[in-house]
């Protein structure tokens, strides 16, 4: 980066009105339904929601890795101003890795069982950089060391099944950061792990972010993880972002009824027993049979007739605090 950037530089990552649709026999599922957000360098965005709310599909859409029959039908994903959705696949391949890196939820299944972990990291490096095998291998060992794997020389020559879940997730992180991406997308990186291992992985992600200045999109359903790690939070429900604000605002002053209900429904350490949890009535929505207007209105304590009439837009209700609800 030699050229000075213009004063009004575009954000590092900007997503505008992203739509991803799955055309199923039963009908079209709008998995990502008009998602927009921007993310600056070095910041962590927590993308939060329950199963099926579209958070993973949002991530896969950013990477242009939506599985068929899913298709990105509209929107823009701009990385430093360049729209990734318009790139030819060849160029996109270069963006994956150096532009956007991704860690998946399942460290057990995301590694190839028949190659050593070192060779899998080296392969990722050689896909993006013209370096010798030997140099790639040396870099792989270095990366294993950086992600906190003891005896990296020896571990690099081992197969994934020899490693524990936490270690495999470290290997996945090593692969994701091998090409020093500008944005790291972490999709439920600790969900499959025990709580002590989760803490270590989260600490590792924090260290790496500080060291490399990456931006992170942290996808999770665990509000505790978000509170500890994120700078800002976007809450998703049925394919849409319903609230987006700084982490303090979301936790201390949530505006959307769904966010409020989600925070109240969660047991937290140090709470009084026998306090009843305030469960959200009803079921997690089925994207095939969504309600008109606000998708949350059938579970919402504040719903009124007008909620059925229009899709509530995500608007700035307070400074730097957006919510999609006509009752706010």
């Amino acid at each position: 980066m030699i050229a000075a950037r213009p004063a009004a530089a575009p954000p590092l990552l900007e997503v505008r009105d992203l739509h991803t649709v799955f055309a199923l026999e039963e009908g079209a599922v709008r998995a990502v339904d008009g998602v927009s957000f921007a993310l600056e360098r070095g910041r962590v965005l927590g993308l939060v929601g329950e199963s099926g709310c579209g958070k993973t599909m949002t991530a896969l859409s950013l990477m242009r890795l939506v599985p068929p029959p899913g298709r990105i039908v509209d929107g823009q994903v701009r990385l430093e101003g360049r729209d990734l959705l318009r790139l030819p696949e060849r160029e996109m391949r270069a963006v994956r890795g150096a532009g956007l890196g991704m860690i998946f939820q399942e460290p057990m299944t995301s590694l190839n069982p028949v190659f050593t972990v070192g060779s899998q990291i080296a392969e990722a490096i050689r896909l993006h950089r013209r370096v010798s095998r030997r140099a790639a291998w040396a870099r792989a060992v270095e990366l294993l060391d950086e992600v906190g794997i003891p005896e990296p020389q020896r571990r690099a020559r081992e197969y994934p099944h020899r490693l524990s879940g936490g270690m495999r997730q470290r290997v996945m992180i090593a692969i994701a950061i091998s090409c020093e991406p500008q944005v790291l997308i972490a999709d439920e990186p600790t969900t499959a792990l025990d709580v002590t291992i989760q803490a270590e992985i989260l600490d590792l992600l924090r260290t790496l972010r500080e060291r490399h200045g990456m931006a992170v999109v942290l996808i999770t359903h665990d509000l505790g993880v978000v509170a500890e790690q994120a700078d800002e939070v976007a809450i998703m429900y049925a394919g849409r972002i319903v609230e987006h604000a700084s982490v303090l605002d979301v936790f201390e002053h949530p505006l959307h009824p769904y966010t409020q209900a989600l925070l109240r429904s969660m047991p937290s350490l140090g709470s009084e027993r026998r306090r009843r949890l305030e469960a959200i009535p009803g079921q997690v929505p089925d994207l095939l049979h969504l309600l008109s207007g606000c998708h949350f209105r059938d579970r919402c304590p504040k719903a009124i007739g007008a909620c059925a009439e229009q899709d509530p837009p995500l608007e700035e209700k307070e400074r730097q605090h957006a919510a999609a609800c006509i009752r706010v």
């Binding site: 600490d203 509170a227 500890e228 047991p267 140090g270 469960a279 959200i280 079921q283 997690v284």
Partner: protein, 337 residues
Amino acid sequence: MISLAPLVEVRDVHKHFPIGSGLFGRGRARVHAVEGVSLAICAGETLGLVGESGCGKSTLGRLMLRLLEPTSGDVLFDGRSLLTLAPRELRAMRRQMQIIFQDPYGSLNPRMRVASIVGEGLDIHRLGTRRERRARVAELLELVGLPPDAAGRYPHEFSGGQRQRIGIARALAVGPRFIVADEAVSALDVSIQAQILNLLQDLQRRLGLTLLFIAHDLRVVEHMSDRVAIMYLGRIVECGPRAEIYRNPRHPYTRTLLSAVPVPDPRRRKLRMALGGDVPSPVNPPPGCALGMPWRCAGVRLRLSRPGAAAMRSPVTSFRRRACRRPTARRCDGWQR
């Protein structure tokens, strides 16, 4: 009401599983899944059992129901040893103890209608006439908050939370006094999890159930339990009243677990203690410290999740010393105040 008499008790139970099928089944290695656990649960009480994956908590739950045979030790229900019961007596005893499983998708037979799933226990124990059974199933569905027409439908027609309600109705059908809830809410979304936790608490109060609540989520366990047992590598490392364990954890492992739980409060981003390395394998567990955590204890150190708090480093050394020389598990045999 919690009585002082134990309803369920295990005394020095061990469970070893042979692994790596040696020739003619003579396995050489053995997993020490449960290593000399003694624990009692009083009538009406909820005992929370927490630990990380592979610590033996599910195995212990199954031993309490004699769904598994212990390698040694004794399992008592209402003062009688389950191990010496004749098969017929044991089957009668099973009416009093039931289990709810983690996986609401895998634990229901997809080919059976909900009415048959819930009513199967009634058939097996030959309880009531056909009409009475049908009425009982309807009553159970209402009790767990399912619509009456659920009886004629199949499991795939329900969401995860509703399936877990079916699993609970099935467990309650035969009128048990003791229920093992094995990760009963772990697979559910937060909003649905709260529904099921509330349901379990309501049912426990209404029916006077005794509950062994197995989970890995410390927040959920604190919410549900009267007393909590922390399990590590097949042993109970600490056990005591809920408030004691959470406010004043004594065992280093308990402290580490608690400090690892993310707090949903962005103002309290905190220092965390990290254990070095992974959980040791329960196959040929490491010798040493009676509480079974020598490796990780040795590696206990404070990791600062935020810079600038290096001043906090000093208490660690004293903490570690205490941790390894003075392992303090609370006594676990019975209700303590």
